[in-house]
């Protein structure tokens, strides 16, 4: 078996008496889209926060790209190649789309402690960023301040930034949220090709997208993974149907 890019083992996180993450074990393998689904309050956000480093787990381990990252900061994990997008797009609003991606490209290149060369005359950096914007279809909007981009365009921008980091894995937190049906379809097509670049851990409520994209699905309920399997296995799983899927199954 190929070694997983991301391996989460027996992860536990308590908030007071509430066990938000209850012994989660989960992995992400090269080339796959692994969807994480679950009802509201199942602990998806808490789990994501632990994977990317904004929250520290109480016990258990997170291995990413061959090393234990459980004690690393958000920035350190990002530098190792963990690219993420947010449920509510997170961008630098005053900067143009181009400058947002350039920031990611400069982080990837290494040093942000360069004080003299003007960044807007750094053609290498501009070219890299433009290439990423082109891949997500934002070339025309490169010079627009990110604050003026539409909801869907900000999603694309976040993905362009994750691409500029040359991520080894993508962690996408509800990328379909707030997208219209057309936007969802386009994004679904795009993510379908993205998995060849790096595997995707996809947290998503949009079941059409999940069923269309996922190679495997894990179902999180009350902080536990109650089932992991292919789309068909999950559709047929009786506990999942009662706990979550309802009519969808």
């Amino acid at each position: 078996m190929v070694e997983p890019i991301l391996q989460i083992s027996n992860l536990v996180k308590n908030f007071g008496a509430l066990r938000a993450t209850d012994g989660v074990t989960l992995d992400l393998r090269p080339g796959e889209i692994h969807a994480l689904i679950g009802p509201n309050g199942a602990g998806k956000s808490t789990l994501i926060h632990q994977i990317c480093g904004t929250l520290r787990q109480d016990s258990g381990s997170i291995r990413f790209a061959g090393q234990d990252v459980g004690g690393l900061s958000v920035a350190e994990r990002a530098r190792l190649g963990l690219g993420r997008t947010f449920q509510v797009s997170s961008i630098a609003p005053e900067f143009s789309a181009l400058r947002n991606v350039m920031l990611a490209a400069q982080a990837k290149e290494g040093s942000s402690f360069r004080f003299f060369k003007p960044v807007m005359r750094d053609q290498g950096l501009i070219d890299k960023a433009m290439a990423m914007l082109e891949r997500v279809g934002l070339t025309e909007r490169a010079r627009i301040p990110a604050a003026e981009l539409s909801h869907g365009e900000r999603r694309q921008l976040e993905i362009a930034m994750a691409l500029a980091l040359q991520s080894k894995a993508f962690l996408l937190d509800e990328p379909m949220a707030g997208m219209g049906p057309e936007g969802s379809k386009a994004l679904t097509r795009f993510l379908d090709t993205l998995r060849q670049e790096a595997p995707i851990l996809l947290v998503e409520h949009d079941m059409d997208a999940v069923f269309a994209l996922a190679d495997r699905i894990s179902v999180l309920v009350y902080g536990r993974v109650i089932a992991t399997g292919t789309v068909d296995e999950i559709r047929r799983d009786p506990t999942v149907r009662s706990a979550y899927l309802g009519d969808h199954g």
Partner: protein
């Protein structure tokens, strides 16, 4: 350089600051030269703060500490140079400005590193309060340190020297300050446009995003804070030489507030915002201060208007919104 409206306004501001003392000199009115020098020095101090506050979004209410440290470096080194006693470990004082400037920047930078390292673990109101607290500590330290005048301050009997320049001639000293101001502003522009500047601005706009692309916001901010402290410290050394006097008032929270007011008046984060703000402030102080002791009341009104209706300050009002490429 493209001649945008903002660049044009900047040029006019820089030219006006040079023209006023030249005219005053020709007309035999040295007082106005002193006023212009004061503007240049305050603008430099605020340019330093503008790096932290305007670019990095770090509302430091403690930059008087760095301003005053620069001032005390000038005063203390000069007093030792005069008395011939060593300052520390056998090192003698000096009356050479450029050494004083380097020491002032170094010391302000070191203190900035210490204050920043702790303060930057907080944000928002807590950051404002903790920087204020640190500055007040430095203030009370100076007040209670009798060796250098304590509360009464320390006089610099003869203005410090610069090779080949008669620094006691007001116009000469103005030109020194003017050149340093322009260098400081140029440095500000270069840093802001660099990779580091991009990261510092991004950290102001969205800290989470910066971390998510793999840049530690804390390190970026700490570096910005230290650079900011160094520039303000340099201005402090010049200020002490202008007045030939340094006292704890340079370290007081009023001074910190004044620097913030200058920036807001002129335009937060704008290249020439501090100069515009300092010019406005000193003009007010002079014009209204002669009429009423309550001139700061009117300054307060103006500040209120700026905050309510002209968030970009004077530069923003004249040049429009800032552009970010």
């Amino acid at each position: 350089m493209i001649l945008t409206r903002e660049n044009l306004i900047n040029l006019i501001l820089a030219a006006a600051l040079l023209a006023i003392p030249l005219i005053a000199n020709a007309a035999g009115q040295p007082f106005y030269i002193t006023l212009a020098t004061r503007v240049a020095i305050l603008a430099l101090a605020a340019t330093g703060l503008n790096l932290a506050l305007g670019v990095g979004g770090l509302v430091s209410f403690g930059h008087a500490a760095f301003f005053g440290i620069g001032g005390y470096v000038a005063g203390i080194l000069a007093s030792h140079s005069f008395s011939g006693e060593p300052v520390l470990f056998g090192l003698s004082g000096t009356n050479q400005m450029w050494i004083i400037w380097l020491v002032a920047m170094a010391l302000a930078g070191v203190v900035g590193l210490a204050i920043g390292a702790i303060s930057l673990r907080t944000s928002g109101v807590y950051f404002i309060m903790i920087t204020l607290a640190f500055a007040q500590m430095v203030y009370y330290f100076a007040v209670s340190w009798p060796a250098y005048g304590g509360e009464d301050g320390l006089s610099i009997l003869v203005r410090n020297q610069f090779p080949g320049v008669m620094t006691m001639v007001p116009m000469n000293f103005f030109l020194i300050c003017y050149v340093i101001l322009l260098v400081g502003i140029a440095l500000f522009a270069v840093i802001r446009a660099s990779r580091f500047g991009a990261a510092l601005q991004a950290a102001r706009q969205n800290e989470v995003r910066v971390a998510t692309v793999g840049i530690q916001p804390y390190r970026i901010r700490l570096t910005g804070f230290v650079l900011s402290a160094m520039i303000t410290g340099l201005a402090g050394a010049l200020f002490a030489d202008l007045n030939r006097f340094v006292s704890p008032s340079m370290l007081s929270w009023h001074m910190s507030g004044e620097l913030i007011v200058l920036i807001i008046l002129g335009g937060t984060g704008r290249l020439f915002g501090p100069l515009a703000g300092a010019a406005l402030y000193v003009a007010f102080e002079y014009a209204l201060g002669g009429i009423t002791e309550r001139w700061q009341f009117f300054l307060g009104l103006i500040l209120l208007l700026v905050v309510l209706f002209a968030r970009g300050g004077l530069v923003g009002l004249l040049a429009g919104k800032a552009k970010h490429g």
